[in-house]
């Protein structure tokens, strides 16, 4: 499990990325996520990458089926997106990251 922390502020985001081994999709998802967070959540996020090949028991708890799956566990409510996160727009919508001024330009 690797984590990349930034300073945890009041509105900090806790994101969990589930992967299974170092596959092309996993690596792409990890890279996409990091880039996206830096762009949109600089300084207010924490990422937890969980490799299910190492910790298969964790799959049941978060109802993981598809790989990769990204879960926004904080702030509530829980949000989930699947895929390699290459479609940034969809990821932002899925994680409710789009600021109001961005959604209505």
């Amino acid at each position: 499990m690797e984590s990349a922390d930034a300073d945890a502020g009041g509105d900090s985001y806790l994101l969990r990325l589930y992967v299974a081994g170092q596959t092309v999709k996993s690596l792409a998802a990890t890279a996409n996520l990091k880039r996206l967070c830096e762009d949109h959540l600089a300084g207010a996020y924490a990422i937890e990458v969980i490799d299910l090949l190492e910790n298969p028991q964790l799959a049941e708890g978060d109802q993981i089926l598809a790989i990769p799956t990204l879960i926004r566990s904080l702030p509530a409510p829980l949000k989930r997106v699947i895929g390699d996160l290459s479609n940034t727009e969809k990821v932002l919508v899925g994680l409710d990251l789009r600021r109001k001024d961005e959604s209505f330009p």
């Binding site: 090949l53 089926l65 598809a66 997106v81 699947i82």
Partner: protein, 559 residues
Amino acid sequence: MPFDAVDLAKAPTGVSGFDNVTLGGLPLGRPSLVCGPAGCGKTLFAMTFLVNGATRFGEPGVFMSFEERKADLTANFASLGYDLDGLAAAGKLAIDHVRVERAEILETGDYDLEGLFVRLGYAVDRIGAKRVVLDTIESLFSGFADPSVLRAELRRLFGWIKDRGLTAIITGERGDGQLTRQGLEEYVSDCVIVLDNRVEDQITTRRLRVVKYRGSAHGTNEYPFLIDHQGISVLPVTSSGLQRPVSNEIVPSGIPGLDAMLRTGGFFKGSGILLSGVAGTGKTTIGSHFADAACARGQRCMFFVFEEGADEICRNALSVGLDLRARAESGLLRFEAARPSLYGLEMHLARMHRDLESFRPDVVVIDPVSAFRGPSTEVHATLLRMLDLLKSRGITALFTSLRADDMQIDGTDGLSSLMDVWIKLSDVEANGERNRTLYVIKSRGMGHSNQVREYRITNSGIEMIDAYIGPEGVLTGAARLNQEAREQAAAMRRLQEVERRRREIARRRQALERQIGELRADLDAGEEEERHLLDDDQGHEATLASDRTALAALRGTAE
């Protein structure tokens, strides 16, 4: 189980009947597809497979549910006596609920279902599972937008199951024009089982069919199956030929008078006995006698009742001095009561089959078969199979049947030709009363009385009475008693007459003998007189002779 070593290895399901139909169970180490419409028992079949594997065959199993939550499954199966929590705690069963929520899944690029593999693999490894159920994996299709990814992943999943050597059941909902909605049969092609739930005349019959079973022979018919508190059981419609072992053993009817009407003193073991009669002729009572007698001999008896409850039968039997309740408590007698309309004919047969398997009775009473209504060909076929079922097990069965007037109830008239013994009960109405009579129409393989016998239902059971048969026909009841009294009086009169004649003869003999005595005395007297006369004559003659000599002498001297 009759299969050769060269045959495909199989994993027994423990579902009674199913393993017979498939000659051993599901293909070992391969996925099988179980499909059917909603509510046909797919989940139950699959869970039974796992629970039996865990408890009876030492094969732990993983249940991956895509629909019902774990708590719901546990609660639902508790009613069948399956302790899923207990099995899970013992490490014999793992249940994983996979929640698929379309609204929660947003696709942002390439993905696969490795998470499913990880979860399944983890559960399998954790308990060392040999069996897996995926119920119903088609739910995935509603959760993911891209069916092509899903199909590729399913293909991979089934391949993975085969590689791991897991015996798996994949369930699927029936779709239009194909066996399952998503065409799962394309992927799972080794063994496909279709469950069905048909309603005819407002009665549901569940049926099971093995559509295909690669590499193995299997029964191809549709087999009725049963779901109740004892789980699922399939009735293999055995093509029971007529090569049955026969027995010369005799099973008494429990009514001595009736046994006496049969030359062998009872029925042959394994025969079918039809007891037909109009209402109120004591069919059930005779059945109760038969059951009670079997228990008294220490045999097991099963009483299928379709019009009364077990308690009613017991109470009613007590009124003729038979304590069936005690027999039931001793464990030798078992009642199975159900309304005929509760299930379809097939289901009744399946239920009966299961009960016979579990209780293994020596004799069976079915009261009454005429309760089965339906198209007459179907009723006939059902009864034929029922009889086959019983005969093939060497069970002596007494069937009662209601007759309306002189007609058998629809569908059961053909029954008489299937039966080995047919006893007809009727009631004779005359002189303001009804009396019950009985006669044996046929009894295969034994001589039997051709007499119509009257019987009475008394406090101490059924009692056979010689019916009066005379110039006035068969007399029963009071008429018989009357006739008997008349005959007794006549006999008395005859006896007195004989006595009188005897006395008369004696008197006449005496008179004649007296006469003879008198005549003899007369004769004696006559003879005496004659002798006297003769003596007189002789004396006279002698005197004459001497006189003549003297005279001659005188004359001679004088001349």
